[in-house]
């Protein structure tokens, strides 16, 4: 509800110098639009105009090295899109990125849920422990990448542990095998973002009403039954939100790959973001990268529509 009350004249109040101007400034419609204006300008200049530009770029054949300005480039219409759809490296990057998202988010959810349940009971020093658990997600991605890069060096700590405590003959050359290199990236992502899952599920669990659980207990339900049929359904909303947010974030994966493997060996660990980055800013094929960007924008919009729909009905 908007606050719509005619202001009574203030008795004895100071008379404004420009009564008309002051009245105009204080009019509700002016007030609320001025408040929202800076953000709308910002979004116009840094979101809407660039989106229009990317659409245009994707329809022309332009590379910075051509020596003409981008608005003078000849139209290629949908040829860029055709090239993207027949680009093997693009599809490989998509499948790889989705694979990373699925594996990483599933692991993060499972570990995060286990941790959240573990931390439901009180014990000595719980607050300190939760503080420690939370900090990985605050760190810069590049620093997390650096930390895991240092851990997984050929003569690094992980290989030392493998050889001396787990009986491996030699250390593993982590960055020489595609699947192994990819798994170190997933591990880094899981290390950094399990705390996110833990945090959301932990506070979600803490906010649940106690009555249904206590009622079930008096009726003799087992702990598993309570968890499966009472806690989980009540937590469903929170779980869906956490999974959506984390999946969208994980799909952006760039920094970890850039730092840890640079997409290597070859292009075996290249994520979609890294491939678009290279096309646009290393190889200078901007229209091609633009077409790819548009395809990504469109498909993610569709996925979000589909993912959010069940939520809206339940809210």
């Amino acid at each position: 509800m908007a606050i719509k009350v005619e202001r009574p004249p203030v008795a004895g109040g100071r008379k404004p110098l420009f009564p008309r101007l002051v009245r105009a400034l204080n009019r509700e419609s002016f007030f609320q639009n001025v408040l929202a204006m800076p953000m709308q300008l910002l979004l116009w200049f840094l979101l809407i105009i660039p989106t229009l530009i990317v659409l245009y770029l994707s329809l022309v054949a332009w590379e910075p090295r051509m020596g003409v300005d981008w608005w003078q480039a000849p139209f290629a219409w949908f040829r860029n899109y055709g090239h993207v759809l027949s680009d093997v490296r693009f599809w490989q990057a998509i499948v790889r990125t989705i694979g990373v998202v699925v594996v990483a988010v599933a692991l993060e959810f499972a570990i995060g849920l286990a941790l959240a349940l573990f931390f439901q009971r009180d014990f000595l020093g719980k607050r300190l422990f939760t503080a420690v658990i939370l900090y990985p997600m605050m760190l810069p991605w590049v620093v997390v990448g650096l930390a895991f890069y240092l851990l997984f060096l050929e003569k690094g700590l992980v290989n030392y542990i493998l050889i001396h405590f787990l009986g491996f003959e030699t250390g593993v050359a982590w960055y020489h095998y595609p699947a192994v290199a990819l798994s170190t990236i997933i591990l880094a992502d899981v290390w950094q973002w399990t705390p996110f899952m833990f945090l959301i599920l932990y506070s979600g669990l803490g906010a649940l009403p106690r009555d249904p659980v206590e009622a079930a207990m008096t009726l003799g339900a087992s702990r598993w039954q309570i968890f499966r049929y009472i806690t989980m359904p009540m937590l469903k909303q929170v779980i869906i939100i956490a999974l959506i947010i984390r999946s969208l974030e994980a799909f952006k994966i760039f920094d970890l790959v850039f730092i840890m493997t640079g997409g290597g060996p070859g292009t075996a660990t290249e994520s979609l973001s890294l491939y678009i980055y290279r096309l646009g800013f290393v190889y200078g094929q901007l229209s091609y990268a633009a077409a790819m960007a548009v395809l990504i924008l469109v498909s993610i919009s569709i996925i979000i529509r589909l993912a959010v729909r069940p939520l809206e009905y339940e809210v």
């Binding site: 509800m1 908007a2 606050i3 202001r7 203030v10 109040g13 609320q32 639009n33 408040l35 929202a36 953000m39 709308q40 979004l43 200049f45 840094l46 660039p50 989106t51 530009i53 990317v54 770029l57 573990f118 000595l124 719980k126 422990f129 503080a131 420690v132 658990i133 900090y135 605050m138 760190l139 810069p140 991605w141 650096l146 930390a147 240092l150 851990l151 060096l153 001396h164 290390w191 506070s203 803490g206 929170v238 939100i241 956490a242 969208l248 952006k252 760039f254 920094d255 730092i259 640079g262 973001s273 678009i276 980055y277 646009g280 800013f281 901007l286 990268a289 960007a293 990504i296 993610i300």
Partner: protein
């Protein structure tokens, strides 16, 4: 709970925390090791001969310290990047939080933009930033904003304003409407209500939002990588340069990683309570 139950839980939590701490402890350890210990076998967590030369060469690459300087003399000093980050991140944070606060007030109290506008802002966080970086490059080249602090500040403001809007909307929704209405009845203008009634009441929320947005701005990597080359380079990009360009100089790399992490770990510690609201745009309430 029984004493044994307590103890086992405590030990379990300790083990979890050790696993979580390991990567960072390892980086911290390497950052204080002299070159011959970086890859020493067997590795030690506590450096045998601890040294601060890794940190010193970050700021004085030409200055020979402990034999490390010669190796990283090819790398640029990190001073420029540190100063840039210290300018860009706070200014962008202040702008984002202020703009977000005003917009959140308009959305919360007057439903400006209906349901579309607040959700539309979320698109800046849903899509991979690289998809926006492509058009922004040609756009920024036209405007002459490439490799400028202003360019990054504008971009960071725009791409974190969704967080500011949604977090602040949560806090503003929590302020009872009748307090503001009472002030209006007393003859206060809407501006006065906003600045003298609502703003002081959401001060804590404003601080939490600012720290959260600061973490995002400080750690942002891709835009900084694409849109800066020399003048406006930020700390995360500098980290990547150290990993990429100076090869196997693990000590200074680790030291830089630690330097880059300190501000965000402090900020994060201060706003632990508000992290859920932050990371879920207020969709999950505590």
């Amino acid at each position: 709970m029984t004493l044994i139950g307590q103890a086992s839980r405590w030990l379990g939590a300790l083990a979890i925390c050790l696993v979580i701490l390991l990567p960072v402890v390892w980086v911290l350890s390497i950052s204080f090791k002299p070159p011959q210990e970086w890859l020493a076998y067997p590795p030690t967590i506590i450096p045998v001969e601890p040294t601060t030369s890794n940190y010193i060469v970050l700021f004085q690459p030409g200055n020979p310290v402990g034999g490390v300087a010669a190796m990283v003399s090819s790398a640029e000093p990190v001073t420029q990047a540190l100063i840039n980050s210290l300018i860009i991140a706070p200014i962008a944070t202040a702008a984002s939080v202020l703009i977000g606060f005003f917009a959140a007030y308009a959305v919360s109290r007057y439903r400006v933009g209906g349901t579309f506008m607040p959700f539309f802002t979320l698109t800046t966080r849903m899509f991979p930033p690289v998809a926006f970086a492509v058009p922004l490059l040609v756009y920024y080249r036209m405007l002459g904003l490439i490799d400028t602090q202003l360019g990054l500040i504008l971009m960071y403001t725009a791409f974190t304003v969704a967080f500011s809007l949604w977090m602040m909307k949560g806090f503003i929704d929590g302020v009872p409407r009748h307090i503001e209405e009472a002030a209006v009845l007393d003859g206060a203008s809407p501006w006065r209500v906003l600045f003298t009634i609502t703003l002081p009441l959401v001060r804590g929320g404003l601080a939490a939002t600012a720290l959260f947005v600061f973490i995002l701005n400080w750690t942002e990597f891709l835009f900084a990588l694409v849109f800066t080359s020399r003048e406006a380079i930020t700390i995360p990009v500098q980290v990547s340069h150290y990993v990429g360009a100076v090869g196997r100089f693990y000590g200074p790399q680790a030291a830089l990683g630690i330097v880059a992490s300190i501000p965000v770990v402090v900020a994060g510690y201060l706003i632990q309570r508000h992290l859920v609201t932050g990371f879920t745009f207020g969709l999950v309430r505590e």
